[in-house]
Symmetry: C2
Subunit: 357 residues, 2 copies
DNA sequence: GGGCAGAATGGTATCGATAACAATTCGAGG
DNA sequence: CCTCGAATTGTTATCGATACCATTCTGCCC
């Protein structure tokens, strides 16, 4: 049924040759290609008049600069690579947005990848990204495969690790201690009189920030002499809202007298709260619940959710700013390469001690 | 305070020259650069033995392929560009994930951009993307500036518009009618006996899908003879959870006898529900509320939220599949270029007619 | 044994822009 | 009128890989 002569077009609607080059624009205007190239950069010395003529021609012909050619000769790809565990998590997408915003008008473009919380996938992505010769790399967390570290090292470009404080930083760090943040939440709630603490999180293998929060929880409960913490692992990180609901049920079955449950993230906290309400329990009257991350949902939810606010967007912005600094070679006192970002406890209804509602 | 002789390193930890080229790998192994290049592609004819030796050398030297050079000579960038309105919205990040997944193992890499629901920003991004010479483009929606359309046309690459049915499609389409989907929801609820319908959405200028939903709502309420719909515009899209809460208050002040409120998205529906509960109203007892998009939150929330389920992830996968088809030049009967994706009403507690609770 | 197909490999031009340097123009100052 | 320098523009080589074609080397068949 196939017609042999039929043009094997893929598209080609109004599409003419489309293989327009700088040289052709140059010929059209009557200048050299080099001048056209200069006209595209604001710093270059081209007379205003010439630039105007060139840009008119560019417009008329529909020419679009080819950066892949440009980056080969200039040896600057114009890419920044960033890897986040998941883009569906609004904490990380806020960070991605921070990076994007910080990169605006720098001429740099973001290459974004998702690691799915897997170091192996991260390694693959790092290799894929490095093939594009990015000028800098932003990673989430501090756990990487050896090969990943070697590749990054070899690449000789600035690297920023975010969202936690790695034991052995590669280069720059923009983050905070997840363990201490969780510890602060425990202490704050303990000071309000809570005694029997439970914890809900995913299994520990993949999500390093999650396991840091967990260990911060356990350590602090111990330190405060509040007996062993009651910690439940439920599902592979990232733990969903639904799993949060299931986990709180298990936890309360096992330790019915638990007074307050801390969750690895607001999402699981939300799931837990909703499940409790569904079962006719009162939050915080019968059980108090807190999360981590201060997602939008937590201030809106009824009851609103106590949590730790983390500056997700700022992490992105600062990480990018860090890279830009490093790229500008502003050697000035490379100084400390660690930027600590703030976090704070946000007390809301879900742990309100008066809480009957 | 600056030391002039101080090496102006930017990083350079273990970083040696890092300017390793294929030719050097070739010399190291004792073959030509061409053979090394072939070794990197699975289709090429290189003896297994040679490839093995080359790959060992690559490993030993830490060489990483340079795709910017490769794409210049092969005239294939290996990029797919995708633009979504916002990445912080899980509907679109699901679509992005669908695209990413579909691209896995194709050797194609995703260039992702956020338009912030702005056609102007979209135009800028399209230009920025085209400078990388992507092999295909995936857009959200069908509203683009003229210049954007011209650039895309000129580029001569396949384009897929998603998430709606444009009046004048550029090329391929993978989406559904937002207006009809909303209409279906209205009819379904009307058949359950609801009569006085309200609607909450953002102002119409930017979010075309939002305004299609709104007009589907108004048209259907009219058609069913349910009097004029009570529609409130609140804030610039994307309307937040908080704005959903504020909007429902305005709506009920203005039309206190409203029975059911439909929202442009689950997020605003959630905000509306929480605000109602906060004010002591019962949902669905006093007021029924429905959303759009079937976000995770809607099945977890208490009450769970009636909504329209849209195959966000599938839209991404199919859009990418569409592109891959077009790229393979599988000319075979280019056929219809419109892929309709499904949607369905998901009835939940928030509109339960028996609903006292 | 000659010829030949097919696999494996090498040599060279080239992709489209930019770096580096050369050349030209123009005006001011001596 | 000549020289000099800043501003503007042009020329050529090059970035690092791949396309394309040529070459070498096997082994096999008549």
């Amino acid at each position: 049924m196939k017609n042999e002569d039929e043009p094997k077009d893929k598209r080609l609607k109004g599409g003419d040759a489309q293989k327009l080059t700088m040289a052709e624009v140059a010929k059209y205007v009557g200048v050299s290609a080099m001048t056209v190239s200069r006209a595209f950069r604001q710093d270059a010395s081209v007379s205003e008049e010439t630039r105007k003529r060139i840009m008119e021609a560019v417009d008329a012909l529909g020419y679009v600069l080819d950066l892949s050619a440009g980056s080969l000769s200039s040896r600057r790809s114009g890419f920044i690579a960033a890897l986040v565990p998941s883009i569906n998590n609004s904490n990380f997408s806020d960070t991605a947005r921070g990076i994007t915003d910080a990169l605006e008008n720098t001429g740099l473009q973001l290459l974004l990848g998702y690691t799915d919380y897997s170091a192996e996938k991260e390694e693959k992505l790092i290799e894929a990204m490095l093939r594009r010769r990015p000028e800098g790399v932003i990673l989430t967390g501090g756990s990487h495969t050896d090969r990943a570290r070697r590749m990054l090292d070899k690449a000789g470009i600035p690297v920023v690790e975010t969202w936690e404080i790695p034991e052995e930083p590669i280069n720059h760090v923009v983050g905070f201690s997840n363990s201490e943040a969780m510890s602060l939440l425990v202490r704050t709630l303990a000071s309000q009189g809570y005694r029997r603490f439970g914890y809900i999180g995913g299994t520990t293998a993949r999500d390093t920030r999650g396991s840091q929060r967990r260990s911060g929880f356990l350590k602090t409960v111990e330190e405060l002499g509040l007996g062993p913490g009651r910690a439940i692992s439920f599902g592979v990180p990232p733990i969903t809202m639904e799993q949060g609901g299931q986990a709180v049920v298990s936890l309360l079955e096992r330790w019915p007298d638990t007074e307050v449950v801390l969750c690895v993230s607001d999402l699981s906290a939300f799931g837990a709260i909703m499940e409790c309400k569904r079962r006719g329990m009162n939050v915080p009257g019968d059980i108090a619940i807190a999360g981590f991350g201060d997602y939008e949902i937590s201030s809106i939810c009824h009851p609103s959710i106590t949590t730790i606010n983390v500056d997700c967007y700022g992490i992105g912005r600062q990480a990018a700013a860090r890279l830009l600094d490093a790229l500008q070679g502003s050697g000035e006192a490379t100084g400390d390469e660690m930027t600590l970002t703030g976090y704070k406890v946000v007390l809301r209804e879900s742990t309100d001690r008066g809480g009957a509602r």
